[in-house]
Amino acid sequence: MDAEAGGAVERAQSGDSDAFRLLVEQHSRAIFRLAFRMTGNEQDAEDVVQETFLRAYRQLSRYEARSSFSTWLYRIASNYALDLIRTRRRHEEKRERGNSEGRDILQSIPESSPGPDRIFYGSQVKDRVSAALDQLSAQERTAFVLRHFEGLSIAQIGEALGTGTNATKHSIFRAVQKLRKSLEPVAGTTT
């Protein structure tokens, strides 16, 4: 049964924890998929799921039925994931600065392009897709995931992330450009 249609949101807002449990059970998998696509990391995705529902519970009284409950959850999840990605990257940058000498040597070695024998295999294309998504900035990845996988409109994404329509559009354009650059050499092999 659809918990939302069954009035679970209203009951949860009135303090019915069983109703909130229904909502958690109904939306957890979708939030996990969104979180994993955004963070690219299973442990982080689990953190996002947990924190999303804790935050949703605390803010339940603020939910208004103007948007669907799942869109509201997406908003909470994507904002938290965005913060998480940014924090992780700041830590990584610090760590990399700390090891800059060793890294410089490694980075000076040009990345080898995969030859036709390697890119033929679907699993390698999937790895390449994961790597390409990792190259996007936190903002680009979030906007792209919400548009491409979750089907939110650009206007909805701008509202959810508080970035406005134009900035969101440009984040998606930049994401698509970067993905094309990384994936065009291999994309044709998947068809």
Binding site: G15, S17, F20, R21, V24, E25, Q26, H27, S28, R29, F32, R33, F36, R37, E42, V49, Q50, F53, L54, Y57, R58, S61, R62, E64, R66, R75, N79, G122, V125, K126, V129, S130, A132, L133, R147, H148, S153, I154, G162, K169, I172, F173, V176, Q177, L179, R180, L183, E184, V186, A187, G188, T190, T191
Partner: protein, 249 residues
């Protein structure tokens, strides 16, 4: 002939309404743009192949098992901790503290010093709890999301009302004991708590921004956090070493 830009093709791919006028017609008559669009389609379709770990049908229940306990704790804390024992503790603490001060002159050496230590410790614990609860209210409002509609802050308003009486008592006590730095922070906190307590149950975006501005301009959340952590630190510090750190508050 002007060809379609990558941006136009991207918007067309995603079917963004209002952004695709003329694109379909152009593609029908332009081989170069059709090729470009096919290349874009291939890349974006390939993105769908990104692996994603599956979660089974029982996943939602597992999530609930992880968070259910935390939800219960938070709720109980608000209902019981907040409403019932906090004001009573504040009164008891103040009464004990002031009673101690009034009888101070009649007590002798070691006994008076021991009683003073006990009173200070009780006061510190109570003030620490008070600051922690205040911090929760300030943080809830400071982190409230921007939104166009009205925001329900009835919980925060009720909490601020409850905190006000305690805050006055602690502030007066701090002044009486000459703890000026603590009294000043509690003074700032009181002004903001009054503002929150006097706000409507539902505020507009502008009203929320004003409250957030008041919290931010006084650096209040930071001050309360610092004071709270120092008070918690003092709880575990021997009295003899406490006075030095207190002057730095």
């Amino acid at each position: 002939m002007n060809h379609l830009s990558e941006e136009q093709l991207t918007l067309f791919y995603y079917g963004e309404s209002g952004e695709t006028g003329g694109v379909e017609e152009h593609l029908a008559g332009c081989e170069q743009c059709r090729t470009e669009f096919r290349a874009l389609q291939l890349v974006l379709n390939a993105v769908d192949s990104a692996p994603i770990p599956e979660r089974g049908a029982g996943y939602g229940e597992a999530v609930w098992q992880r968070i259910g306990g935390q939800l219960g704790t938070r709720k109980r804390r608000r209902v019981f901790t907040w409403w019932i024992w906090a004001p009573a503790t504040a009164l008891l603490v103040l009464a004990a503290f002031l009673a101690g001060r009034l009888s101070h002159r009649t007590e002798t050496g070691q006994t008076a010093a021991n009683q003073q230590q006990v009173r200070e410790r009780i006061l510190l614990v109570a003030v620490g709890d008070h600051l922690e609860r205040s911090q929760m209210v300030l943080a809830e409002l400071s982190n409230a999301p921007d939104q166009k509609g009205r925001l329900d802050i009835s919980d925060e308003r009720q909490m601020a009302e409850d905190l006000l009486d305690d805050n006055r008592l602690y502030r007066q006590t701090a002044r009486t004991t000459g703890d000026t730095a603590v009294a000043n922070v509690l003074d700032d906190l009181e002004r903001v708590l009054i503002e929150i307590a006097h706000s409507p149950s539902e505020v507009s975006g502008a009203q929320l921004a004003e409250l957030q501005q008041q919290i931010e301009s006084r650096g209040l959340l930071f001050k309360v956090q610092v004071l709270g952590s120092r008070v918690r630190g003092e709880e575990s510090t021997p009295v003899g070493q406490r006075d030095k750190s207190r002057k730095n508050l």
